[in-house]
Symmetry: C2
Subunit: 725 residues, 2 copies
Amino acid sequence: ERYLVKTQAEYFAAAEAVKAGDSIVLADGVWDDFEIVLSAKGTVNAPIHLTAQTPGAVKITGQSNLRIGGEFIVVKGLVFTDGFSPTGEVISFRRSKTDLANNSRVTEIVIDGFSKPDRYETDYWVGMYGKNNRFDHSFLAGKTNKGVTFAVRLDSPESQENGHRIDHNYFGHRPVLGSNGGETLRVGTSKYSMFNSNTVIANNYFERTDGEVEIISIKAGANIVRGNVFDASRGALTLRHGDGNIIERNVFFGRGKDHTGGIRVINGDQTVRDNYMEGLRGNGFSSALTVMNGVPNSPVNRYVQVSNARIDRNTILDSRRITLGAGADEERSAPPVDSTFSRNLLSSSGAGTFIEVDADISGIEFSDNRLLSGKVHSALAALMPVNTELARADNGLLYPVDPELFDVGVPRDLDPVSREATGPAWYPKPDGQTAFGSGKVIAVAPGEGTIEAALKRATSGDTLHLAAGDYIVNKTIFLDFPLTISGANGAVVNFARPSLFEMAEGGSLRLHNLTISGRDAPDNVGNSVVRTTSSPIRGNFVIELDQVAVTDLTVNRNFDVIVIGKSAFADAVTIKNSAFNDVTGVVVKANAETEDYGQYGIEYTTITGSAFSNIGKSIANIYRGGRDESTFGPHFTLSSSSLSGVGGKDAPALVLHGAQITEIDQNSIAASGPIKIVHTVGAPSTVISNNVLDSADGIVVEELNYSGDPRAVMRGNIIPKGAKQ
Amino acid sequence: ERYLVKTQAEYFAAAEAVKAGDSIVLADGVWDDFEIVLSAKGTVNAPIHLTAQTPGAVKITGQSNLRIGGEFIVVKGLVFTDGFSPTGEVISFRRSKTDLANNSRVTEIVIDGFSKPDRYETDYWVGMYGKNNRFDHSFLAGKTNKGVTFAVRLDSPESQENGHRIDHNYFGHRPVLGSNGGETLRVGTSKYSMFNSNTVIANNYFERTDGEVEIISIKAGANIVRGNVFDASRGALTLRHGDGNIIERNVFFGRGKDHTGGIRVINGDQTVRDNYMEGLRGNGFSSALTVMNGVPNSPVNRYVQVSNARIDRNTILDSRRITLGAGADEERSAPPVDSTFSRNLLSSSGAGTFIEVDADISGIEFSDNRLLSGKVHSALAALMPVNTELARADNGLLYPVDPELFDVGVPRDLDPVSREATGPAWYPKPDGQTAFGSGKVIAVAPGEGTIEAALKRATSGDTLHLAAGDYIVNKTIFLDFPLTISGANGAVVNFARPSLFEMAEGGSLRLHNLTISGRDAPDNVGNSVVRTTSSPIRGNFVIELDQVAVTDLTVNRNFDVIVIGKSAFADAVTIKNSAFNDVTGVVVKANAETEDYGQYGIEYTTITGSAFSNIGKSIANIYRGGRDESTFGPHFTLSSSSLSGVGGKDAPALVLHGAQITEIDQNSIAASGPIKIVHTVGAPSTVISNNVLDSADGIVVEELNYSGDPRAVMRGNIIPKGAKQ
Ligand SMILES: [Ca+2]
Ligand SMILES: [Ca+2]
């Protein structure tokens, strides 16, 4: 029977009635707050279908989700958008703890931005339970909250050795989360990692899946990851737990983007063959290839020693790093054993070390590899260099033209899945975001209220151009689209509310060639020029100040320039060629995530060519607490800038707590508090170079969880005699 | 002409056209997002009217406000509700910085709950500028965000010596703000306090205006505050700055409520006569009567010495405290001079000191006062005791029956304004809130999803009654109404999300006779049983646990029981007769307001008759940072409870930072971390009594801004030898 249903009541009546071979068809339209449950028994020849009347024309919105139980069910063609799941999953292959789905298929599903409002509230978009299920040709993009996008669960025997297939899906943009929990796909958990999963992950396209350090996290045995493409995606495919996985014929295009990684090998019996990497810029645990050191007799949640790894016929070109014996330390003292590394084709992206060796690698047998370029560790001095041209083949991949190298690197028949072949054909894949300045220009005249009036006409990407003169803004400008405000010389903006701008969902801000004065702000503690709204913001945003003068932020204490509040995340805060005078607070304040859960507020903070004078607190206060190692950031750069009268004896001129990558170069710092840098976890990279300071205690670097000397690189700084360096 | 307008466009056309004698009438209905501007010139005989078609039937909602400029304008009958102002004021007696209103009247206006969503975002509901304006017969209740409800501004000569009248208004419930900025009415600011305001504040009714320590803050000279009633309102009428104010014939009914104060006198030439106080429980700066010590040659924002104060014929009955020379310290060393205190009638509420003298009071001449009861400081031993019956007169006030005392205390003709005579007659004044258990009882059977299903039928005040058995809850319960969940013996609630309950706007929660287990919660850092939603919550709420057992909160780190997040405020969190076992986090966590702006999360935290064992962090962590002294709380009580294995060496069993009133009595504390109490500002009252501890370092009291010994009262505690006491 075919049930065409138009209401939730009709749906639930049909769901009660369906028998093998029946179909339920959801009528085209918007289904709001719809918690779909389908538990029924189809048969191999007569499955039960739940479909859209027209694929793509059935929108499930609001607080909605889908749970299926029973067997031989096929769900097809639904679009989840404009909402989020009220439970822990959007699509669940179980109705309840005891009613799992088996032999079922979910196909041509869209989950688009269906994220919980609070980025730190965890859920899965797909939870796969049971056995012999398939999830394919679906579109999953825009997950902004914590929790892996797609989880294969092995938490009961009924879900182990499951034979699931996950194929031809489009995993689209997953923005940087700024916390652990940003993985795109995970199989198993450490608790069940001794079990085999037997899951096949094939021919999926991962595009800009940048959530955290792991794109795919394999935590169970006997999986096959084959034929997937990773395009401009930060992080790595990680064989975190479980043995006997096969990783083959995958393609990684880093496209020169920061932190693009490849494959990380841990545990026994892993096969990594015929994979292609190009343009990767990751290092450390996110190298193009990382082979970890293990922990002797490792507990289940630590690092099992690599043994019997087969790493063969991979092509790694124009990439920054390969790391062997990675993470070697007192605890991780067991190097790889009984392993091979053969017929790989290798070339580096630059001048730094290309192949790093951090432990004894005598347990890896190297044979027939070819090195096109790159510095290698002395332990690998015998690696065979080769000089051959590369040519791009029809499959889009580079191969050596030298016929002798025919069987080095990936095979010629590698055929990466195309972006078009993934996801449902009827749902368009997104391009990039609206850029600043892509819209119209609105001319604004000086006066009280003229900016607010102009904003009523502005839309995404527009620019307000302010004529010279004085402006008074009586409202906080609520920014939910990308906006540029640019001034003629002599444009001065005054504001009468505690904040001039409030960043909200969808907002980004670029200010150019303006003066902003806090003269008219109310006598209130904690004013600011730009802040985030006090509700959580799902999407990441950008703030840019270029040639901006900020003055007179003095009416009360803690008058800041830019404040990133809780549950908000900026991809970048960039300040260049700007000047800040007379500020009682902090210039860039991103220390709201105080719980030490490894969360933070800004991925890249960049200050360059700017001058700071008479600043009450710091020019920046960036806090990323806790010991979690799942994030690449925060990054911080301060260069070619001058600080005078910033902070004081008990007020550091700059506070970086838990920044991962820091560069402080060519600044002059006078009559100011110290620069205070605290290293918390991981292997932070801090370079402080070519600065001129007037204080002997100008720079303080502290290690919280590392017992050696502080690991900052200090060079070329001019500091008065007696300075701590 | 009479313009009846139905749309905003029609309104603005009319506002453009109006001439003296014209009226604009807003059609009945809802006007959403309406920023009303009216600047026009009426005359004394032909004013311009802006009115409602039917008073009370014109609702201004959304992001709306009203600005008037010009002169002889009358605005009448509008209701502002379901929204908030997009600017710094809801009603402004100026159109712009240069276009002020004069000789204008705003009458029979309602502003009901028209508060900004974030409680810490500041605004005024009424900003009065210009001269000779009147605001009367209006209703202002439910302001939940920061910023004085009604501000008379003196920030330019055009607004000084203004002759404004503010009369017959109903100032209704202003909940405890938990921060500075909760005043109900303010005249002037310290910056302009040398100017006279000449404002009359008469016959207004203040009911439960509990925002902070000041109800009315007078910060300018020559005002008259006459005939107002303060009913069950925390805080005091404060003559903070400015000379020559007259405070007369006001009535204060404390009704025995905490922190109900009277009048605080600072500066020169103040008259405080014929005021009636009864049932006040404030002390310190919120005594029934407080006469401050001043700072010699005080800067404008500190305390000018009291001189020539006339404090005569006031009645102060059944009240806790009168304080003379209050705040005397090294800085405030100038005692009151040239002042009189005569014919006052005085009686105390209890056994403590009634009249406290903290400085030399030889500058106050005492004459013909009568003391009915109460302990007085020895400097006032000569105060004349008297023994007379009191009888309540027709005006509702108590008078001595002894005819000899006819001219002691307030005159017989004092006629307090009635609640009914204030506000617009057509708008009802609210009663109390829905109480727990006032609604229906819904029976719930054990199982997965049964609680969620029952909640769909629950409304304000209802009770879910759980039969014995196991429950699984798969959603976070979003609480936007008061709810009780009560169990039969043996009811066990498990939950599968990071939180079981999320407090939201309008929610309060009472749990009774239940077990709550975290066994099924996800493996996620920072889970909790009850948390506040991550958006700000306007309204204050209550959480009660009575006979609740909480267990198995162990799946990950920082699994807390109750977490109060940012921009949320609980009037009370009460835990009694409950048990907490195996918790990795904190039981009551209210340390989210980290900016040190004097903000905090819970007014009264009370734990009694409860047992705590194996708690990873503290039983409570309450943080109220900063040096602001505008709040009465936080209050904290721990009594008749046992702690075993709570916290540890580096994890205090209890953290109180900036609590104002603390009582820790009759507890046993073993194998636990220390109790850590930090005093920040003011005169915190900390009493630690009759506890049994097993650790010598069990209690640590620290002073942050006070140089003497820690001010905790410690008595009757049994602590091992060598303990710090
Ligand atoms: Ca992770
Ligand atoms: Ca105050």
